[in-house]
Symmetry: C2
């Protein structure tokens, strides 16, 4: 029933290398893993859930020291449910900020793609400077305003 998994079993199944697993252990992330009498790590079925949580937190961009804090709470059991809720709650906000930021970047990169396509037609990266003001696409003026704000240090990041 409750079999054990060696570190290389776990590495193969999760895609986390054995080196990395040992490093995580050294950093205090895998304190839940049992050891045999001779000191060999024996991962149980249940260990895959916190292991998965580690991968999720990593992919959220959480640094290892913060993940350790979470794992400490995990080990303490039912008394820390609320605090763990708060950690995930903050993580949600954090994720949303990252998503918002990437969406902002997407808008700019999208503009750049459009602009380069236009410039390609004219074979001139500054083609719009030769156009009469009323023929310049509004997107270009908007982007130049961003650059202007960036230069003036008034860009609210």
């Amino acid at each position: 029933m409750s079999r054990y998994y060696s570190i290389s079993d776990v590495a193969e199944r999760t895609g986390i290398s054995a080196y990395t697993l040992r490093y995580y252990d050294k950093e205090g992330l895998l304190t839940f893993v049992r050891r045999s009498e001779s000191g060999i790590r024996q991962f149980s079925e249940e260990d895959f859930e916190p292991l998965y949580t580690i991968t999720v937190l990593k992919r959220c961009g959480m640094p290892i020291k913060e993940i350790r804090r979470f794992m400490e709470l995990y080990l303490q059991g039912n008394d820390t449910i609320h605090e763990r809720y708060l950690m995930f709650s903050r993580q949600k906000e954090n994720l949303q900020k990252q998503i918002d930021e990437l969406n902002r970047m997407m808008k700019i990169v999208d503009y750049k793609c459009w602009y380069f396509k236009e410039a390609e037609k004219y074979k001139d990266i500054n083609y719009y400077k030769k156009l009469p003001a009323e023929e310049v696409d509004e997107r270009i003026n908007e982007f130049n305003q961003i650059i202007h704000d960036f230069r003036e240090g008034s860009l609210t990041e």
Copy 2:
């Protein structure tokens, strides 16, 4: 009209420290910046646009070596418009992948928040194990399936 900006002017306006600007220069990102006879960097009005592009690419997660490649194309002028278009185009895909990934993480973190809120009511992190199967919320079964797949190495990331 066309005034110059010192490295500390630029640092103050852009929020990039003078140390970092010099480091970027050393890494070949600021080859467009002119120097005075005595070797002092003189940023022009026009230099803020590529500088802004560097910050955008950084915030997209592009490593400095790749940004350097882009700046090389920038310096070559009109002949590289198409290649620069392609770089931004690829960056769009890359950004979308990052956004998708963060949205996936958001779903999981959202579930975790919900789960901890539930567990808090029961004061038991494993409360659902004591419930009859038909009373267990479907979200829990779905999540346990993810953990199962993770353990079996069949999680398609």
